[in-house]
Assembly symmetry: C2
Homo-oligomer: 351 residues x 2
Amino acid sequence: MAGHGARSRSGGRPTLEEVAARAGVGRGTVSRVINGSPRVSDATRAAVEAAVAELGYVPNTAARALAANRTDAIALVVPEPETRFFAEPYFSDMLKGVGAELSETEMQLLLIFAGSDRERQRLAQYLAAHRVDGVLLVSVHADDPLPDLLAQLEIPAVISGPRSAAETLTSVDSDNYGGARSAVEHLLSRGRTRIAHITGRLDVYGAQRRVDGYREALLDAGHEVDEHLIQPGDFTEEGGRRAMKELLARRPDVDAVFAGSDVMAAGARQVLREEGRVIPDDVALVGYDDSAIARHMDPPLTSVRQPIEEMGRSMIDLLLAEIADRRPATSRGLERRQAVLATELVMRASS
Amino acid sequence: MAGHGARSRSGGRPTLEEVAARAGVGRGTVSRVINGSPRVSDATRAAVEAAVAELGYVPNTAARALAANRTDAIALVVPEPETRFFAEPYFSDMLKGVGAELSETEMQLLLIFAGSDRERQRLAQYLAAHRVDGVLLVSVHADDPLPDLLAQLEIPAVISGPRSAAETLTSVDSDNYGGARSAVEHLLSRGRTRIAHITGRLDVYGAQRRVDGYREALLDAGHEVDEHLIQPGDFTEEGGRRAMKELLARRPDVDAVFAGSDVMAAGARQVLREEGRVIPDDVALVGYDDSAIARHMDPPLTSVRQPIEEMGRSMIDLLLAEIADRRPATSRGLERRQAVLATELVMRASS
DNA sequence: AGGTACCGTGGGAGCGCTCCCACCGGTGAT
DNA sequence: ATCACCGGTGGGAGCGCTCCCACGGTACCT
């Protein structure tokens, strides 16, 4: 079907050279047209584009990658087993945002799971080979060595959920502080005054920020912060149960609970019910994440929604910017880039 | 940290040449060692491996791809929107099998969604650029042009669920015929004699095969096939409802139903209950897929399990074989390759 | 002794692209 | 008229690898 050149190899795909010959120009000029350089006359550009169309030319990615030292691919690294990836809507939403933003570019997305040691090993090899121009890191634990590896290899990377206030990587986060504030302010506006907080794991930065938001919302409203009303949880349902029991034991007069996650709120709800407290009449309850649980709880749970899809978009924007000026923010003393996206309080019957 | 060569470029990754110099051998020899060629003496191999380790050499994928005309990557193409991908455990299981099998190789897996037209467009471009050595196709509709595109581009491909008995692509399938047989035989062994079948969409080959299995199981057991007991459905719950109503109207004495999918079985169950039939006392019910629905139905549904994870493994095996001898089965008159995996009847209270 | 066979090895010739420098002709300043 | 300049262009020199041919050496045959 296609015309064969001097000696065509596999399938005889046309090369830049052949397009150039066809268009009656030089190789460099075709390259310029393909890559959208402005330094080409309109007439020449048209001729080249015609030749490209006629020959059905498609650039050879490998050759380009070799010559230009870039891959036009980025990886979304998920340091979790596949199972969790599919189970949690978080990843699905994130992927949607990432995919949407990326579809405007020529970049290609790779999904890499690094749950097991074996997979981590592979990933390290993969990164060492510089097979991607940049990396998106989601759901990273505080002690994960991956960010450092990335920095050492000087691979541009963006992390979702900074590991600390001093995060060195470019990061995207939702406004945990503001989200917590809005939850507490909402409870205050409903006339609640003895508002407890069940925190997430405090080695997770976002959980800390939620505590900060809780504290300052109370202080700014002229209330004191009663440390007995702050009870550490661990993001699990069982943790929520334990925390709620403890709170009830210490402060039986509690009239509202702000839980650091919907799952913990579910645990708290069980205990409240067991103790005969009616939600929201006796105790108002607010969660965090606005997950499916929140909608299906009885009563439906007021919760703080994070704009996960937008976080995905934002991560891509930042990563592409970083790739564009080939200097990972970590390797030079550049200003740190970061984005913080607003949350939204979704009100339901529990408060 | 690493020693820099003459003039190191970006990060100064060592090249084959540098490894060769270090090991005191030629470039070709290092290449042979890296690629596991047997035509290297043990002493030389050891020396090269030492040099590789010392320098932390990692092959440059782009250069290799360009020179060898292969990418060491394959794509899993999902012609569905992301949403469905995450919603259905089918994909998750498939991916697990694929990932497991692939982790034994150097191959890299790409996940490509082609739900929207825009995404299809991108995919076509992607394939035309031969950016993967092979393609895994899952959940393909009968009229999808993708298989033909693949054949035309001479890209090795394996499809899960052949489109017809005359499928030209290498395929992997579960034993729909045998699965249906086992369901019917099971019902017969329970003393049921008026067994109905609610079929899937009959333009899906697998659904046809299930009908075949239903028919022949009855015939082989010495029963006649009553066409009034075969009612077409469409894989949806509503379709299952409609089919069940129709069946009940035509043959009120039906004592068992074999549905072509769990979802349709769920629809049938609703109707049976509405009509006051007790499962399994009055009517026994068997589904297909052994999905989550089956386990959670009331009563729990007997269903035919497909070995999806193994299908994933099998697809990889076949694809790698096809890539290995660079001849897509479609472009030459080679014997068709295909694998058919056994199903398993999972018995529960509904039958 | 010469021939033939191989094995292990070195290195040239590309793969198809980007990058960059040199070059061309037309302008405007001197 | 001379020169510097600049937009537009051609093509050489690689990028780091694989492929393959040629080569020296050893072993075995005649």
